[in-house]
């Protein structure tokens, strides 16, 4: 964990108003793992005041990528960064995915911008794993397939792929994957994560999800990001330090 000034290489706007920010930082590129995140100071003024947490979306040589859409003040400023702009990055933060396990098929389940951490995960997956990417969104505009492999899509309105939630799509397709040694990696809105959790627990599937929370510090000093633990009702876990990736068995989403 360190604080570093990193230099923007370029800001890329994908079709659907999704931005990819390519940033130069050998130190981050070298140390960060899939599922970890960075806490980014978007401006040196006091407005916006707090850093903004972003998953690392991908790493390429000495560069890393962030993926986001313009949501509020902070992401608006980020989207306008240009070549040569310097941004203050705190990271690597959090635990990251456990992807070196005893399984043969990795299933990505992403809702909307929940796609962000997966290009990097897919890149880092050991060679011997198969990957299927289940990508959902409200409409076709919200489906982000950048950096995904073996893609199946679902939209609430049926404008692209399966009509229904991405978890429904998973339910329908799982039998056909013909694998008993599956690990699921999910990221997306809480409602999606809750239904994914239910499905995985009912079907005894190993599943890790990347969670979100409002955050101030991002590294465990403010206690701002609690998440209810299954094992210990007397104590919250911290999304920033104990997560953001949790096994669905361990947390109440």
């Amino acid at each position: 964990m360190f604080v570093i000034d990193a230099t923007v290489e370029k800001s890329i706007e994908l079709d659907n108003q999704i931005y990819l920010l390519k940033i130069h930082s050998p130190q981050i590129a070298e140390t960060i793992r899939p599922g970890q995140f960075l806490n980014i100071r978007v401006s040196d003024s006091y407005y916006p005041l707090l850093r903004r947490p972003f998953s690392v979306c991908d790493v390429e040589d000495d560069f890393f990528y962030l993926m986001f859409n313009i949501y509020g003040e902070g992401t608006k400023i980020l989207a306008n960064k240009r070549f040569g702009d310097v941004i203050d990055v705190l990271g690597p933060l959090g635990n990251g995915f456990n992807y070196n396990g005893d399984y043969d098929t990795a299933i990505i389940v992403a809702g909307g911008l929940g796609a962000a951490p997966f290009p990097f995960l897919i890149k880092k997956l050991p060679q011997d794993k198969n990957v299927y990417s289940f990508i959902g969104g409200r409409t076709f505009k919200d489906v982000i397939i950048h950096g995904m492999k073996n893609i199946l899509t679902a939209t609430d309105d049926g404008s692209l792929g399966y009509k229904g939630t991405v978890v429904d799509l998973l339910k329908v397709n799982l039998p056909m994957l013909n694998s008993s040694r599956i690990k699921i990696f999910g990221c997306g809105p809480n409602a999606m994560l809750r239904s994914l959790k239910e499905f995985c627990i009912d079907n005894n599937l190993d599943c890790e999800v990347s969670t979100e929370s409002a955050m101030a510090c991002g590294f465990g000093i403010c206690q701002g990001c609690p998440i209810e633990s299954v094992d210990n009702p007397d104590k919250f876990l911290l999304v920033c330090k104990d997560g953001p990736v949790f096994n669905v068995k361990d947390v109440i989403i």
Binding site: F2, R51, A214, A216, C217, I221, Q223, C225, D234
Partner: protein
Amino acid sequence: MSNVDLSVKVGTLTFRNPVLLASGTVGYGSEMSELIDLNKIGGIVTKSLSLKPRKGNPPQRIVETPSGMLNAIGLTNVGVEVFLKEKIPFLKKFDVPLICNIAASSVEEYVECTKILTEEETIKAFEINVSCPNVKEGGLQFGNDVSAVGKITEKVKAVTDKPVIIKLSPNVSYISEFAKVVKKEGGDAVSAINTLVGTSFDIFTRKPKIKNITGGLSGPAIKPVALAKVLEISMSVGIPIIGIGGIMNWKDVVEFMIAGASAIQLGTVNFIDPAAAEKIISSLEQYCIKNKIEKLSSLTASYNL
């Protein structure tokens, strides 16, 4: 090595420089130690401790506001026992004065905590939090009541020889009345200020963004209010003041010292720029050299009204 003397006194306490890290914004030091050299900091104030562990408030606990933030952590802490067993050993490794902040739900609990903790020699002083806006019992109930603050000061002083600093609430008409009673009951210093009560609503769900309904406002937004409170105390009560509230850089530190603070604490800025303390300390040194100030402590209450 410069000849500048950055050291400051707060009552009988001496700090190598006036920059302390505020309660609740440095945890128990371990995470911060990865980002800054704790041996250079003036001092550390622990997250508020209570007798038993506290789980704290459910999420959402934090929301950003213009140049500020609201928090309603609810005094999440490991409790006195775990603190002594698991956190103190780590802190012992550093040469940094440790101030133990205590928050309790009753006068008895304040006394009990102090009694236990005073045995631990690593702890140099106590900061008594009578002003947390985010818990039902204790907190503001005490912080807005002059006689309760007087009683807590008196009872806590009775069970420890170490300096007792009372952390005051800004959510009152005249903070100096509270500083006066602290002085009268033998308190060694006051910390000013804790957070201001605030809230924020989600206009779509019509729910408070913070689960606790209200939270405590901190950050640069509150700096003018904090400075006015420090000045008010300084002008009317002869008690050392630790200034807190919205400090972001060395200029803010100088401003608080001019307004009456003997030392200061950094809070919210630690989340935004964890290295702020180190930067500020070295800028203060530069400032003294440039302005030929031999003792930084000479700034305290040097206002020119």
